[in-house]
Amino acid sequence: MRAVCWMGAEDVRVRSVPEPVLQDPRDAIVRVTLTAICGSDLHLYDGCIPTMTRGDILGHEFMGEVVEVGSEIDNLRPGDRVVVPFPIACGHCQFCATERWSLCDNSNPNAAIAEEAWGHAPAGLFGYSHMLGGYDGGQAEYVRVPFADVGPLKVDGELADEQVLFLSDILPTGWQAALNCDIESGHVVAVWGCGPVGLFAIESALLMGAHRVVAIDRVPERLALAREAGALTIDYSERNVFDELREFTGGRGPDGCIDAVGMEAHGFGLLGGYDRVKQATMGQTDRPTALREAIQACGKGGTVSIPGVYGGVVDKLNLGAAFGKGLTLRMGQTHVHRYLPELLDHVRAGRFDATSLISHRVGLEDAPECYRMFRDKQDGCTKVVMKP
């Protein structure tokens, strides 16, 4: 089958690889009907996530049709149409039992590597490095889905692929980012980054009753999408974000600040320990820019919610500001499974505009070009979906 493979930094290729087979009674094989490139994939593309190896199949946002199930799977049958959450969760550990699916104890076979870097290991993810499981991703014709009795969400034929695909990651991620702000009426929420995650965070915050949402980016078409979603926008290349936010909130600062930018192309080593990280970040003085700004701008007693991915040590983070203002910091990979039923209802009811952020509809063979385009925010590229 054809699959999008990571061949090194800034080098993804479509290759012929063996089709996946069932390896466990709880596996399912899914024929992918639609898959997307995520901002998180760009961190892989730029080579800043270690423990990728040449030939790894990329992709953690995908949906498709079940073609084969293991002997212990009785909730799915061949022919079922499913959306698959990007974190892999076993359903039996203390974290799964408490709905903290992205922290599953049993889905990361390479937990030891993650423990070395982070002390404890989170769940395995599809197509997202060996330290996070080494699982083949879904930017392919077929994919093996482990613990298929836990993750996949069945969707009926009423909704188009494009309407439900983003339940696999970015919609729940934007939702959790907003949820983590504990929004109350009257709250102002600021969102750094108007990529897909930021856009869904804007929509979510408004649905949760935020008084106003202010969105920050510099890419015109992304800022336009943010306005369409209902936000006021600040172009950070033109305006001072801190001043604008203070002004807008009557001096209070936003109640919730969402960093939907993350490490982006910032070379924080996950594994190499502090020295390597320091080395890798040498000469990159403004890396966690959005996070620094969010902490600085956030109003007293507010919350900084961080869906943007970070991998390692960051420099010059003003913890004193967070402490002094009594901020709450919340972050992490999304517990996708937890929000699916609720979000599916929202999608059905048309409360989310899941499709207008899609700028490119292509086949797998266009992946190399689209990775570059999406990374460089060229050609109006806001989200790429691929039909294998």
């Binding site: 039996h92 550990c93 104890d105 482990p146």
Partner: protein
Amino acid sequence: MTLPPPQSHPPLPARPSTRRNVGRSERVGSFAGGSLLTWWALRSRADLPARLGLAALGAGLLQRAVSGYSPVNRLLDRDTAHARPNAMEIRTAKTVFRPREEIYTAWRHFERFPEVMHHLERVTVEGTSSHWVARVPGGLGTVRWDAEIVEEEFGKLLSWCSLPGSTIDNCGTVRFEEAPGGRGTEVHVSIVYRLPAGDVGRLAQRLFGGSFRRLVHEDVRRLQQAIELGRMASRPTETLEAKS
């Protein structure tokens, strides 16, 4: 309040399980071989479990090499080294989301450890005694030892010691405690390995303590996963293996 001291520090193996009779220069030579193997393990590009296995093997071989017993020497009736041995203690802990009794029972079935711990080839159990055969990666053979349960309290505690004549001389204790907040059972493992006396033993500990610790930690994790996923019963947890 300070942390309480370890509740049941396992005893050091009562006496050296093998007679030491290898001279210093021979020991150094064996040591070099063992080191090389371990170095190789650490540098190899194989996947992590294999490397850990290899490292453990290197350490095991090394320990064996420097434990100072040689049949040749015995024939020649040579004997050296009678200093106080070094001990290396390895501790690890995991919280398993299951009741104490269930985990205890799974643990007590040593004979099933090889289903999840790939460096073990075979464990046979007879009452309170057990015989262990561990694989040396790369098809380089096996190491074996006998162990005896020295203390056992259902659902709470299990202690064992290797018997005289073992290649791998160790005593261990596992305590099972209810985790606060209904989060299952805390499994506290402590294993003490006897190392050769003197500088050689201390050096071995410095060099290989880390890989032993990781191996024990991985073993406990595998057991956790097998118990939580109910996989002990049917098959090894291949799905938890890294893709090649």
